[in-house]
């Protein structure tokens, strides 16, 4: 019988790719990360893992003809139920083959028998559907291919671990990092193929399926398996130089592993979270760039590890020829304001400017720089070097290089106070905590994820609800009568809570104090995640809010250092880097 090619989509490392290949199918990993979600949100709700939503969207869009799922988690169980209901209702005409494998969490002999039975049932179902027969030679060849793919990196590399990371995220990491990045997340971390079946196994179908089920189940496990001890291998490779740890919002498995490894990893680790879309790729790029800077700093004594990289590390990129000027400029293009600092050769601040960013980051940066130069009576020719930082740094053409605001804030804070060991920056759009080592290098950092809670935006919204501006809000709440706790962490719910407190005639000072405590709690949690220790310096726009500064100091157990230059800390750090360039 002639075989027609079939594309079978799968989503789990335990999916039997070799079995499907042996029946003429071409397995395809559903790894694409969308920009946003479609109709799946109406069917599954918002508060569920984005991978499940993206999978359902692709099925609803008719992009999937054959699908093999495993009951790898509660989200996929729900997705399978919804797909099955839609299929039974005749609403998915393009989905011709749907199979749900009951994957054990155990890898003992009984579980292997159970999974072998599942695989045999899949074989029979797929043969009946496709008309293709299982070909043991093709199976052996497919196993051989998987076997050859199991090659450990022989040179220094970084690994992307944790929850599902699609190819877009992997590629962003590859482009940002100074070392190769291996994707070992969820399904991409499939390690089947370490062993090959003997001839006697290939001759006996029952033995073959038992062998196959055993090998599949005994891969390096994912976190959903009962015994996840085998994952220690992922962290023990001497060539591993850093970990990008990804968690997907509403997938809880990997936060447990992160909680375990964060304090014990021997290499730098970056924790970040996505909702399985690339909608926050700008913020991700900032984090990745900052991590790349951390990696370069960490291994600066062994530059040879970067030698094989297809491009030279950023530190070694040829710099533009330095003009003859004697001044150095730093531009921090933030979401709310664009700040410029100009230093002279003795590191004195000649002038600085803070202006709203407005619509275009590049244009605002140009205007802010021009304003600063005019204020100082200088021209562009007087600048020996310029460094851009902040969200909009990529859009700024002025300047010899760009550095992330993480690194620049650390530099600026340390310049303002050489004793500082932890920088807390709360801006309009995000908040970050940067732990420094004794020399002032970035030791670890963390940023809030896609949520306004604990940021300037949160305070802005609450100020509006209280019908006051941020300056007024800053002065309120320092003295209070009743110690109110705003329990809602969600900005929307917190707003409702504030409205009901107003309705209860609670005093504004008491409510503002409750809000200050809420921001302080959220920020203190971030500080705990990087093991931040004092002295703490607070920077960013929210540093002007005396109530938050006081509440955060109380939460951290020591007063915060707030410089009168707190708002220009990032630009100052950038100017200092310009001087070093």
């Amino acid at each position: 019988m002639s075989e027609t090619p079939h594309c079978v989509h799968y989503m789990c490392r335990y999916a039997p790719l070799e079995l499907l290949t042996a029946m003429g199918a071409e397995p395809s990993y559903l790894s694409s990360m969308p920009e946003s979600f479609g109709d799946s949100v109406a069917l599954l709700g918002s508060n569920i893992c984005g991978f499940g939503k993206s999978l359902l969207d692709r099925v609803l869009a008719g992009e999937v003809e054959e699908l093999v799922l495993t009951n790898c988690c509660d989200t996929i169980r729900s997705v399978a139920d919804v797909i099955e209901a839609k299929k039974e209702a005749g609403e998915l005409p393009k989905l011709k083959f749907l199979y749900f494998l009951d994957l054990p969490r155990d890898d003992g002999d009984c579980a292997v028998d159970l999974y072998a039975g599942q695989l045999l049932a899949l074989k029979e179902a797929y043969e009946a559907y496709s008309g293709n027969r299982f070909d043991v030679k093709k199976f052996a060849a497919a196993v051989q291919v998987s076997h050859t793919q199991q090659v450990k990196p022989q040179r220094p590399y970084l690994t992307l671990l944790g929850g599902k990371a699609g190819r877009e995220l992997h590629m962003l990491a590859v482009r940002s990092m100074p070392l190769p990045v291996q994707n070992a997340t969820c399904a991409a971390g499939r390690t089947f193929g370490e062993a090959l079946p003997g001839e006697e196994v290939l001759q006996d179908e029952k033995a073959l399926f038992a062998w196959y089920a055993g090998e599949l189940l005994r891969q390096i496990p994912c976190m959903r398996m009962q015994d996840a001890q085998g994952r220690k291998r992922l962290f023990a490779d001497p060539n591993l130089k850093g970990i990008l740890y990804h968690t997907v919002r509403f997938c809880d498995f990997y936060s447990f592993e992160y909680a375990d490894v964060k304090d014990h990893a021997a290499v730098p680790i970056l924790k970040f979270e996505t909702d399985y879309t690339m909608s926050a790729s700008g913020q991700l790029a900032t984090r990745f760039d900052a991590f790349a800077e951390e990696i370069l700093t960490r291994y600066r004594d062994t530059p040879e590890i970067f030698a094989d990289r297809f491009r030279k590390p950023k530190e070694e990129q040829p710099m533009q020829e330095r003009p003859a000027g004697k001044y150095y400029a730093g531009i921090d293009s933030g979401s709310a304001s664009t700040d410029v600092v100009i230093l002279d050769a003795d590191k004195n601040i000649v002038t600085y400017v803070i202006r709203p960013t407005g619509a275009g980051a590049g244009g605002s940066a140009d205007k802010a720089l021009q304003e600063a130069l005019e204020k100082a009576g200088l021209t562009r020719e007087d600048l020996a070097a310029t460094v851009a930082t902040g969200y909009g740094r990529a859009a700024i053409e002025t300047g010899s290089r760009s550095i992330t605001e993480i690194t620049c804030h650390a530099k600026g804070a340390r310049f303002l106070d050489p004793t500082v060991r932890c920088v807390i920056d709360i801006g309009g759009q995000d908040s970050k905590v940067i732990a420094l080592d004794e020399k002032g290098n970035v030791e670890n950092f963390v940023m809030n994820d896609k949520c306004a809670a604990g940021t300037g935006r949160f305070l802005d919204m609450m100020a509006r609800t209280l019908e006051m501006n941020l300056d007024e809000m800053s002065g309120r709440g320092l003295t209070y009568g009743e110690d109110i706790t705003i329990s809602s962490t969600c900005t929307v719910f917190a707003e409702s809570e504030v409205v009901s407190l107003i309705a209860q005639n609670k005093s504004t000072d008491d409510i503002v104090h409750g809000l200050d405590k809420s921001v302080a709690s959220k920020t203190a949690l971030l500080a705990a995640r990087v093991h931040g220790r004092g002295p703490f310096m607070m920077t960013g726009g929210v540093a002007k809010n005396a109530g938050v500064v006081k509440a955060l100091g109380e939460k951290l157990g020591e007063p915060l250092i707030v410089s009168d230059k707190a708002q220009i800390c990032g630009a100052l750090g950038a100017a200092l880097y310009a001087m070093e360039a």
Binding site: D74, S78, D81, R105, C110, R224, Q226, D252, F253, E497
Partner: protein
């Protein structure tokens, strides 16, 4: 400030610096509540439900009084063998529910988040983990858990086993509801027997176990009669009783106390006056602390929560003469196992037993399975003739509650049911 809020404030303020003292305060508060339940029970509650309050309070106090005599379990683990070796089982859902009622879940949740646990994990499990990490809970004798019915079970109890370094037993339940799966779990039940005997040094008598499992069967059958009898009656109720009965129907199933409770409940139902107001059947956990929910259902004649699906997830069609297979069958056929249509159909059958006028599907934050099939559930309940409201919220973490939204939705839903009746 209520006494419970004061207790929460004291416990939370001592948790970071002196967990032993915090634990002492928590126990003292719960002991006081236990005394109150005995000497001054809530007058509006039916006698069976007053007894249920005492029963649950005693169960929750056990791990604080004698942690070495308790077993940490996931909620759907069959507990008869633990009862035989005199271990008191307690679950994450039950303990966290009591912590929340004592206003100290906030500090536990914060502790869990500090440890790096995602805030999207079920808040019962997060609170439990945080309480353990903070020192509010002492090591149990052992841990027994199963994958039925959520991912959080695997994560929480595996971590707890590592944290406390106590023996742990995991029951793997296949999704496939079949005799082969029952056989697979039956083998594990026999291994669990050996595990418990080794852990406690006690022997499980086959005949006593048969008797206990037979009692489980009777309790399940009696509880169904309670629900069917209540269908035409008015039994005043609060927001915790339906959930308490869910907890005891799993943790205490097989005990004389649970049998006594269901018999009392049947008597109460038989003696109750005719139905008043609307009967609401509740899917998943109940946000007992929500003022919006209290306003509508707390001892109100206009509407009552007449049942919670979690108290009726087990079927009683098992043969107690082979207790291991019986418990295995109960676990495999648990309404929460297998495809969601089983869970939804069981909910529909339960709602029909209770002659529910409407159903509320509570999307407890972090429960991925409940959230993911909510729309399917709504469609299937409505197709079966039950008007259904889906609301988002959190049964344990008060900070996740959107009071205004819940009040409006439940209010409009009940008004809709009233209009439906008026125009029928």
């Amino acid at each position: 400030m209520s006494a419970a809020e004061k207790l929460g404030q004291i416990v939370e303020s001592r948790l970071a610096g002196d967990p032993k003292k915090a634990r002492g305060w928590l126990r003292a508060g719960w002991e006081a509540e236990n005394v109150l339940f005995h000497i001054a029970p809530h007058k509006e509650l039916a006698p069976a439900d007053r007894y249920l309050q005492q029963l649950m309070m005693g169960t929750m106090l056990a791990p604080l009084r004698h942690p070495e005599g308790s077993a940490m379990v996931s909620i759907f683990v069959p507990c008869e063998m633990m009862q035989e070796v005199e271990l008191v089982p307690y679950s994450a859902e039950a303990f966290s529910c009591y912590l929340s009622a004592s206003f100290c879940e906030g500090a536990c949740l914060e502790r869990a988040e500090e440890e790096g646990i995602s805030d999207t994990l079920c808040s019962y499990h997060r609170t439990f983990l945080g309480a353990a990490e903070a020192g509010l809970l002492r090591a149990p004798k052992c841990i027994v858990y199963t994958n039925v019915t959520c991912d959080a079970n695997l994560l929480t109890f595996r971590k707890m086993a590592e944290f406390y370094q106590v023996p742990a037993f995991y029951l793997e339940v296949p999704m496939d509801v079949s005799e082969a799966s029952v056989t697979y779990v039956e083998r594990q039940m026999r291994e669990l027997k050996a595990f418990l005997e080794k852990t406690t040094g006690k022997t499980i008598s086959e005949s006593a176990l048969c008797e206990r499992v037979a009692r489980s069967k009777t309790s399940l059958e009696t509880f169904r009669k309670v629900q069917q009898t209540k269908a035409d009656r008015y039994v005043p109720t609060d927001l915790v009783t339906p959930f308490y009965s869910a907890l005891t129907a799993n943790l205490l199933l097989g005990t004389e106390e649970e049998q006594h409770y269901v018999e009392m409940a049947l008597q109460d139902a038989q003696n109750a006056p005719a139905k008043r107001g609307k009967h609401i059947y509740w899917m998943h956990t109940i946000p007992f602390y929500s003022q919006a929910v209290k306003d509508r259902f707390l001892f109100t004649e206009s509407a009552q929560i007449v049942g919670d699906e979690l108290s009726q997830v087990c079927f009683s069609d098992f043969d107690p003469s082979n207790p291991y297979r019986a418990m295995a069958k109960r676990l495999v056929t648990n309404a929460m196992n297998g495809p969601s249509r089983r869970r939804i159909q069981k909910g529909i059958d339960n709602a029909a037993d209770a002659k529910a006028d409407g159903v509320i599907w509570f999307n407890h934050w972090g429960c991925k399975h409940t959230l993911g099939i909510a729309e399917l559930g709504r469609q299937q309940f409505e197709a079966a003739g039950f008007p259904t409201l889906v609301i988002d919220g959190d049964g344990c973490d008060k900070s996740k509650e959107g009071e205004g939204q819940i009040a409006t939705r439940i209010g409009a839903f009940l008004e809709m049911l009233d209009r439906k009746e008026a125009t029928a």
